[in-house]
Amino acid sequence: MVDDPDAFLAALERPLPKSFRVNTLKASAEQVKSGMESYGFGLRQMEWCHEAFVSDSLGIGATLEHFTGMIYIQELASMLPPVIVKEELENARIVLDGCAAPGSKTTQIAAIMRNRGTIIANDLDYERIRALKFNLEKSGVINTIITNYDLQHLPDQSYDVVILDAPCSAEGTIRKHDHIFDSWSPRAVSSYSGNQRVLILKAFDLLKPGGTMVYSTCTFAPEENELVVDHLLNNREGSSLERVSVEGFKTCNGITEYEGKIFDPRVASCVRVWPHHNDTGGFFLAKVRK
């Protein structure tokens, strides 16, 4: 599956770069850049998202910019779901973030929507909702309602955009969480996959005709990625995929075959993010149209 296994394994051994996103509800990228450079930080601005920066200092959490919510500390790959539907979000009136906690994507969506329209930030885990609420308020998010449903049972409503960053086995976060494989098992992958197949159908059903959904995970397992998207394409007429591309960010196409199973050829339009290509965590993204 991987183009360069040695480079892939070497990347997993390295710690993740320290990255953050400028919260444009409170400050511009230029303002934050000049403030943080005055502390002597070396910053690299991402070509594919002008609000995204990598810092050479470990101290980004102990700055005034962090205290005042002008920046949000976030892994680069996790910024991708809102980035690939930026235009849709700018025009959206109502958006669902289906598995929202702890809020990195919700705060990014709110910034893209300039705090207008409505976001429903839902999460099943009530404990994680505390972190979600804290992060939304710290970021100055107004246009968001927090709900606590099992997404399967979210009351019917039509959304312009749905973000489904699904609970997953999180294999792609190994650079951040050394012990992620302690809880990993083929059974866990299979259990996540079953849940994801239920959630992706529900999320699709919540879309308005013409609406857009992002399905994403931070894992490598095809059972939780292409197989789930294949399940959607097979079970919902009117679902289609849009090719995901992020200018200046290297991605690979979704795989169309795994362990003898042939997927709908359209799943090649999904993308896999490998850690060694952009020095990030691992990620998977699909952009679905209704």
């Binding site: 509800l25 409170k26 943080m36 502390y39 930080f41 101290g59 102990a62 700055t63 005034l64 962090h66 205290f67 005042t68 919510g69 009136r93 109502i94 207008r116 329209g117 409505t118 976001i119 429903i120 909702i129 609420k133 804290f134 939304l136 308020e137 710290k138 100055g140 998010v141 107004i142 246009n143 968001t144 309602i145 927090i146 709900t147 606590n148 449903y149 009351p155 019917d156 409503q157």
Partner: protein
């Protein structure tokens, strides 16, 4: 009236909520924000104000699907259970629009303030600020809310937000 209540009355903490209904509380809060801090009402246009428990007021989206059970709506902007206390998060978002009752801190004072420390100010630090809630700033950074009484600045930064700054 006991001493504690009198002390509250001496300061400009906005009207009490006694026997006020929700719309009155909302109206009084906006009026207080406008008079004490110069917040233009227009910043609240296009949003709804929600009332939560313990006098908590939230600024949230105007349009919400009616069939949803809401856990939390938008941004906590004030607590209006005993006087009106603006939230630190409101000041950090809209602080640039405040034009009065501002306390500007030095670098050293800022380091203490963000850690949650109360402090005694010199008279020259006070500027035009009068007793009551104030916006606290360092340069262009809106740090949050504090309660000024005389030269004492009582810190209102929520515990979860407090931070030891290494870079300023």
């Amino acid at each position: 009236m006991n001493r504690r209540m009198r002390r509250h009355e001496d300061q400009d903490r906005g009207p009490k909520k006694e026997q006020m209904d929700a719309s009155e509380v909302k109206e009084n809060t906006l009026k207080y924000f406008e008079e004490r801090f110069g917040f233009p009402r227009a910043i609240f246009d296009g949003y709804s104000i929600y009332m939560g428990p313990k006098g908590r007021l939230y600024l949230g989206p105007a349009k919400v699907p009616p069939n949803l059970r809401i856990v939390s709506p938008g941004l906590l902007i004030a607590r209006a259970d005993s006087g009106i206390k603006p939230s630190t998060n409101l000041f950090q978002l809209f602080g640039n629009l405040v034009d009065r009752n501002i306390i500007s801190l030095s670098k050293e004072q800022t380091e203490k303030f963000v850690m949650g420390t109360d402090m005694i100010l010199s008279k020259t630090d006070l500027g035009d600020a009068s007793d009551g809630y104030v916006l606290v700033r360092y340069l262009d950074y809106n740090l949050g809310c504090a309660l000024l009484k005389g030269t004492t600045l009582k810190n209102m930064v929520p515990k979860a937000k407090r931070l030891a700054l290494n870079f300023i």
